[in-house]
Symmetry: D2
Subunit: 365 residues, 4 copies
């Protein structure tokens, strides 16, 4: 149900933030795919807490354990189960929150829906849940790299009102990871880091925008009508905690253009399968199907709901209470959300790669 994603390359995650473990089952992965476990661990390291001064101080090593589906570095075609134990749990930190609803957090809605909640912390609403996504996404990335040389790059575009101006042509993973905020603009990244630290000192938080670029996308991925590639990407990214908006290609700003300005002109080509366009307002997708251009997206992340400042709120009886979060939390989720965006995009593309292969490559090739 709600903890599964994908049609035939399909992940199912589990785990509460302060329970025994979090993890994922990845089913439907092709057999005999070479998988480098270090690359999985590396993505988890990019998303792990405690990685820098501007993330939550919760200190988790987040060491991945592979329980099934991989043998001597190759996939078996059977479910790949991956597990990370929760270690640095401090349920006590949230004791004062147990029956208090943090404003704009999931505490209240979980209580209204289920009438019961995980002991403490965010339960399934915690960012720890994304460990399973990131681990499975790291396998998806390797699948895409192996078959299509596809490269997924996400970075912090804006923090609060500090915006970077990135040359997408040249951007690389190395640049993105060169600083702790994951904005590949050296100068601007320093300002961003300062802003986050300042807000943290104030017991406050901020949000921003992550941009994602996918290179070497095969044309033909995606489908008409409901399972359009941009629709599945939108769902995937809007399922990440704290997201409030999604844009593909020209997004909202494209709506200020006329059709004659917005249309992406095709460039003549001897090889129709390698058709390119002069501009990319479409963001690499037309009619729900990739056209071979880069996929380009932007995702809005709201400021972290859990803040140190005192706030008025209510408890599970509806009575007014004052609260001040003691739990460890990120003053800004974006630096750690970068690998989550990568992962969700990889999961969508891997699923659509297999789906397209299933339906359209039986006859053509």
């Amino acid at each position: 149900m709600s903890s599964s994603f994908g049609k035939i390359f399909r992940v199912s995650t589990f785990g509460e933030s302060h329970g025994g473990a979090v993890g994922v089952i990845l089913d439907g992965c092709p057999p005999k795919l070479k998988v480098d476990i270090n690359l999985i661990q590396n993505e988890l390291d990019r998303r792990r807490p405690g990685q820098s001064d501007i993330t939550t101080p919760r200190n988790e090593e987040d060491k991945i354990e592979i329980l099934s589906g991989i043998k001597e570095g190759f996939t078996l075609g059977t479910p790949i189960a991956m597990l990370v134990r929760n270690k640095d749990q401090r349920p006590g930190d949230y004791d004062n929150l147990e029956q208090v609803f943090r404003p704009s957090h999931a505490d209240g809605t979980y209580h209204l829906k289920y009438g019961i909640q995980a002991s403490s912390g965010g339960g399934r609403a915690s960012a720890r849940e994304t460990i399973g996504r990131v681990a499975a996404g790291a396998v998806a990335k390797q699948l895409l790299k192996t078959f299509c040389n596809t490269e997924i790059l996400s970075w912090v575009k804006r923090i609060h009102d500090i915006e970077s101006d990135i040359n997408k042509e040249k951007i690389s993973l190395k640049q993105i990871d060169s600083n702790i905020v994951r904005c590949p603009d050296e100068k601007v990244s320093t300002e961003m880091i300062e802003r986050i630290k300042e807000l943290k000192r104030q017991g406050d938080s901020c949000g921003g925008v992550i941009e994602c670029l996918v290179r070497n996308v095969p044309s033909g991925l995606g489908m008409p009508v409901f399972d359009k590639l941009e629709a599945d990407l939108a769902k995937a990214l809007m399922s990440l905690p704290a997201t409030k908006g999604f844009e593909i290609g020209s997004g909202f700003s494209g709506t200020y253009l006329k059709g004659s300005e917005h249309n992406d002109a095709f460039i003549k080509s001897d090889d129709i399968s390698k058709l390119r366009t002069t501009s990319n307002n479409s963001g690499g997708i037309q009619g729900g199907i990739s056209n071979g251009e880069n996929i380009e997206m932007k995702i809005a992340f709201k400021p972290t709901a859990t803040i140190g400042k005192e706030q008025k709120t209510v408890n599970a009886e509806g009575k007014e209470v004052l609260m001040k979060a003691k739990g460890r939390h990120d003053p800004c989720v974006l630096p750690r959300a970068v690998p989550m965006v990568d992962a969700m995009v990889a999961l969508v593309l891997a699923d659509h790669l297999l789906l397209n292969h299933a339906q359209c490559d039986l006859i053509n090739k």
Copy 2:
């Protein structure tokens, strides 16, 4: 596959724009629901072509035929099949397009994916495909009205750069439908209509933003992790033709706020199930689950790709050609997209209503 949507309240659409018919099967609808066929026809009338000077002149009555699942105005609990015949087909209009890829349209990607295309017109990429969605959505609306008194209202917020300022408290369907552009701001709507007519005269097109408001949403709809309510809404709306962006609640602009500014404070309440917040930056959803506040969304629609102006493009051999669309098309899709937005939102909410009932109302009640 790609033409089905929903988990247990599930629609499957079919039909090409110039084929025999378009339609939908709606499966999983509760039995004994009173359904007014006139309300279904009314929604189709709101989306039908030829309804005004600013829509495509293709003249289709779009008369709904119910083939199954309803008896004397009540649902049977079995699949509801609904059909609309294509009548005013002029495949000849698109003869010059058959092997020509309209820029930023689905022609090229369909060809790359399938290697074969519907005779003419947009095939499944045509807005005619949405007839099935709108018909099924009209049933979903009645289900939501019957069980929760839920009301879904969408309207044109902006056309090109002409923006309206709407008082959401007072807005009504009557106001929205009081003018042909479906912007409930009388003065601004006149400007919008003028702009669309002007661009039409120029053989050009424009886009804009539709806003959607849902009142009386029961709390508890939606689920953690992947099937968050906002994620399913994002997918539903980004699956509509011509969409480029989606926002829930504060959207992209909310990312300029600090956490202390963005958080929606709860108001104390004796009845916890009727909890409200002082602001609604969350847009009615927290942690993927509705909190009982209004759901508020914005959707970006790009300018129509098919324009009358001459454009350079390529044909299926990759050779450069000049084209000038003769087919009938909308200079701006937004007025007709309003009922499509309503429909997709209704389908998502109806499905989540049943899903929540399945999992969470067995014990509670």
Copy 3:
């Protein structure tokens, strides 16, 4: 929901027995597949009522109408919608049944579940619902024939206690269709026809066993654990009206053998992909995956529940009533069930062919 079948080669059927029409949407079919409409009509003719003295006299031409997804004899890769109008409806025939539950029929359970029923006749429980299955199955058969030269043959093995002894090596469609009971044993078929006629005269009915043989099954179809090929075949066939039992390979009788007797020995082969076995107790499937041998199944069909004899039963108030069915019904469903079995088997195999291609043929080829 319950009216859809298949994961990526997916059918959704609709229609009540005495409503406007019955039909099907087939989604996920590969594009550019050559489809002969006559072969679809031919399968419908094999299942249509009124085809002989031993079937229901309801006279329906069951002429197929293709609404979408096929252009000039080739699939577009988009949903194929197919429709058959109900013509020879006589709702009056069932007037005396409207609130009476036929013993062992779906009348009672539909009433208990939905609290409302189709006007008359069996609604979705009628054999007319299978029209959509047979039409879609005829497309699946052509897909399987085109890609793998796969041939599906079903026939009547036993009627009541009259059993045939068939040489499976030589059996052909022509033989099967050479008589109206569809038993390819000329002598025994005459006895079967006599038995059915005799029971019909008595206002009674009978059941029996259909056998199914699939030749040229590619190895590798099916999956471990839940979606084993035999499990999906069992579900497909047990979803046909009136089925009470399913066997693959040695079935129940194989349980009387010892392992050393039951095991199918492999025959050495230079080409491992063409591995064969000396016996076929496995029925062509091992561990849920096809091994390249013929798939062999048997399906038990109970005697028709609707009979002309007077029976004691109850009405919707639970009161005892006497009933004697006036509606037109089959004294034995098996002759018309043969094409239904073919269709369901074809749908399962086509779906698994695409699924296997998706997961396992990306790397191998």
Copy 4:
């Protein structure tokens, strides 16, 4: 994909027989359900190897570890992840099998499909995979017991040719578990145990039939057309290792009856929701929907493929080899298959309970 089962009460299993662990995620379980972990462990003990002289000597404690979704004995409504470590692994036992295909086992088909296999033992085809099913089924059993007082009882009906005659009215779990073969007929069970021991001594194996009875089934579970209750039960049970046949109610033997003999007459009743029938050839299901009578099924299990006797077979190069299994295996799977049957039936019924509640209890109650 293939390792998931259920629509909204959904399990996903993972794990190879000789990997790190096997387990399951159960998603969609209602919140606030009281779950007794001992009852889960108890079901695992019923299926664990090494429990008696007539099962495999592999000695696994199979101690369940709950990783998420349960807090202080109550479900949270979030995914319940359960894990069992593999301890008594002896991959060496199967060394001589690594590239040898055991006749009638999954070795050959896994190799043909995936081109790669788990290190040794059966991988996903091993009975160890069913641990996840049994653990999740034990939760489903508690759900059914809590809401409907439903009781699922399975037992060994026949071993090889030794058949028991059971009085279904009186049968109890205590009787079933009173002997190691799980046949509640004391005298016959002794013969069965002797037969199994004798065949084990000969290095041979046997199969048989398990019968399943479900009491207190609410009417209205199941759906028309494809997701008929008996169809989902057939799939569930035919997905268990070694199954070759499935019967509901009268099964194959019912096909020897006339309609007038086979029909189950309704008994008049003041309360229509408690309608009963004089006989139960339907096996508790009519038209795909439960009628409130007991559900009755029979499942055929073939003799274990892995035997100690020397057999001729082939290796992965297609060359002929002689083999004699050294690995520990069951001479007869039925005693341990009893809790597997219980589990699969529970999973199907729990899913259909929620599905029926979702669609049909919104209006009625």
